[in-house]
């Protein structure tokens, strides 16, 4: 009788992004399949001080949270600004993509994206210094994420004031 109008059933906030985990064990097709079925979200741009409790409170507004895995610096084993949130159902995760992604947690705009599923080892940052890659190279000063980017920090420490 009537058609499902694609223009009207647009749900762009839940679409999978362009990002693909380079360390994923499997091919592109398999990764995409998992992303499309996943109940797990990657959450980025967290402050290093954001707690599991805060993440739980916010993401629980979209449904019952199965578990949260806080991302850790590989060397220091301290929080390094990302986490995984797993829901019991995909529908709840979709709501988080629609209504939590792009809003604030701990005064920072956080980013959510589909994740193929947590596996042991994925809770660690992949940057050379132990944190996330993005914190290796960034130039700005972010007090909630360790100050300057790691590379910028090194440059700063090698600079000496002029001496006469």
């Amino acid at each position: 009788m009537s058609v499902k109008l694609s223009a009207l059933t647009s749900d762009s906030y839940i679409e999978i992004s362009q990002y693909r985990d380079q360390h994923f064990k499997g091919n592109r097709y398999e990764q995409e399949k998992l992303l499309k079925q996943s109940n797990t979200l990657y959450v980025g741009n967290l402050s290093f001080y954001t707690t599991e409790e805060q993440v739980h409170e916010l993401f629980s507004k979209c449904g019952d949270v199965k578990r949260i895995i806080i991302g850790l610096d590989k060397i220091k084993k301290t929080a390094c600004g990302f986490c995984f949130v797993e829901y019991y159902t995909r529908g709840d995760a979709e709501n988080a993509m629609r209504f939590v992604n792009g809003t604030r947690l701990d005064d920072r705009i956080i980013r959510t994206d589909w994740d193929a599923g947590f596996k042991e080892g994925r809770q660690y940052g992949r940057g050379k210094s132990g944190g996330q890659v993005r914190d290796e190279y960034r130039q700005d000063y972010d007090p909630a994420r360790g100050g300057y980017g790691k590379l910028a920090q090194q440059h700063r420490s090698t600079e000496r004031p002029n001496s006469f």
Binding site: M1, S6, D11, S12, R98, L105
Partner: protein
Amino acid sequence: MSRRRHSDENDGGQAHKRRRTSEPIEIEDRLESLICRVGEKSTSSLESNLEGLAGVLEADLPNYKNKILRILCSVARLLPEKLTVYTTLVGLLNARNYNFGGEFVEAMIRQLKETLKNNLYNEAVYLVRFLSDLVNCHVIAAPSMVVLFENFVSVTQEEDVPQVRSDWFVYVVLSCLPWVGKELYEKKDVEMDRLLGQIEGYLKRRVKTHVPMLQVWTAEKPHPQEEYLDCLWAQIQKLKKDRWQERHILRPYIAFDSVLCEALQHNLPPFTPPGHMPDAQYPIPRVIFRMFDYTDAPEGPVMPGSHSVERFVIEENLHCIMKTHWRERKTCAAQLLSYPGKNKIPLNYHIVEVIFGELFQLPMPPQIDVMYTTLLIELCKLQPGSLPQVLAQATEMLYMRLDTMNTTCIDRFINWFAHHLSNFQFRWSWDDWADCLTMDLDKPKPKFVKEVLEKSMRLSYHQRIVDIVPPTFSALIPADPIFSFKYDDESGSSLPGYPVSVLVSNAIKNRASNEEILTILKEVPNPNQEEDDDEGETFNPLKIDVFLQTLLHLAAKSFSHSFSALGKFHEILKALTESDDGKLHILKVVYEVWRNHPQMIAVLVDKMIRTQIVDCAAVANWLFSQDMAHEFTRLFIWEILHSTIRKMNKHVQKIQKELEEAKEKLEKQQHKRRDSGDDEDMEKNSEEDDEGQLEEQIERLQEKVESAQSEQKNLFLVIFQRFIMLLTEHLVRCETGSVDISTPWYKNCIERLQQVFLMHHGTIQQYMGTLENLLFTAELDHHILAVYQQFCALQL
């Protein structure tokens, strides 16, 4: 693929769609796009766009007629906020091609039948409204529309049907009149008067027991929370008095009048409303939410009155926009803010009112609560100079009227406000609310502020809350969410359980086995027993206390640590909580140690239910126990209760689904076997084995379902029984002491009882018989029975 992580600018993307190269599909997509987009922002006028589109579609009719018919039927059903744009389009097409007009009308009637059959009553309203506006476009003859309305209204004469059924048919007719009232009255005023007379008679004899349960405020002032049919009737009455002059609705067809009045009209085919079916799910009644009137918008256009038809149309359209675009907050906000005719109304006020109206809707908001929070944030972003002020004004007004606000709505207000503040650095003029500081802490206003601060703390941290409120608010600041350890070296060393606590703590740190720990625990004296029986199974509250306190103390660092602890020592915990007393006590201990951290209590209880350390009934009994009486009005108690009920419901649904799937599988196999005819004996035998296995599985699942449903029924019985006991006690006490029953505690309790009915109405329906026979009998105090009767009146 680049390794670039998500950038901050990309806020929920638009996926790149790849088009197929085959032509007909491209053209069909294009047609869809053209039709859906007409009426949106454009450099050309709406009239010229409609004219142009009508020409394009007319040319495509020979090849794509059916597709065009289906698209138009869909937009009629799914884009009600653009009703008049599409009726004009259909009018233009009908003027150019009479047959097409006729086919469209027939397709619409078929679609109407389908939607009614499928319980899609809200969409059916839009279809009827579309048809009625087609009268204005000279597509449908007015007399045949009147006949349809007469058939609808005749449903009010049916006997032994649910009131919500006749309600719906009356609602449809009334809700079309803002669009088509004028035209119908001009052509058939005698019939219309008769129609309205019948409606008036029906509305007078309608039962309205359900209304108190659906009202957001109990007070009549400043805005009565009117029943939706009463409000609409008043609006139509006023419209009639104004001789059906309606100036708000955008009517593009007026510009095309000379073309359209040349067109031949069609008569609606006769349409008898489908009869009542037992599984029909009519929409439940509503109450119209109003919080603003013309005095609230200080400058600019005046807000239409509560009984003006303009108010109805605006609210309808805004609700429709949200219904269409709720998934995409940027689009939704943009569509709301570009409402046609926005310059003549205080649009921000309407938007805020409609949003809060949905958020506070009883029994449930149309969408998930968090959608409204995010939408309001988006609106603030798009209108930073005006919307935040309206929102602040609204918040102030809601605060002022907390005394008469329904408890469930207060819960939502708390959650919304705290979440909203967390997106704006918790900036708020708290001093404006200093009046709450001089009140008793159990009064609604200070209670509200306290709960908001607690929720705000969950989204931040304790010191932050201390920093954001004036020092005068210190009594309302939540406790620092730290663990309260009884067997602390300093203060607890003289307690009977202390020595074992130290042993257990060391054992856990040294990774002792479960057996070793159980052996240590054997040393804990049992305060319940006189002799030292060697009954390891009897309930020993001290043992539970010592073990759990010690374990949770070691794991207090985070949720994950505590979950891990519960998982590691699951065996021991299950052994300790075999009895109902054990289950109750473990909950007691969890509360004692984490009483300053309700969020932790909630997640631990959730985990313990999921790992079957406690069951749902134990949690319900614990929440209603005397030990928890002092916390009874706190929000976290009810969050735990409703979360528990939801887990129970989901558990039952899951097993039912497994049963259905197994039954389907069996049916498929049986069909296959019958169809396959004479095959080799070997195959037949193995198939029969499979079937036998399936039948066994189904039997097991059947038992599982029955057992789960029994547990579910028991849970509700426990909860309702406890409510009745508490409320009866209070009512009797007040009566004998000649004291007013309406204390803040009572209001909270009776509304919490209502809340259980409203939030779980679908599930509770199944057990109505038992509830009525066992609990909600005529002997019950009428205050309590009234809640049950209101629930029944909703005919959910």
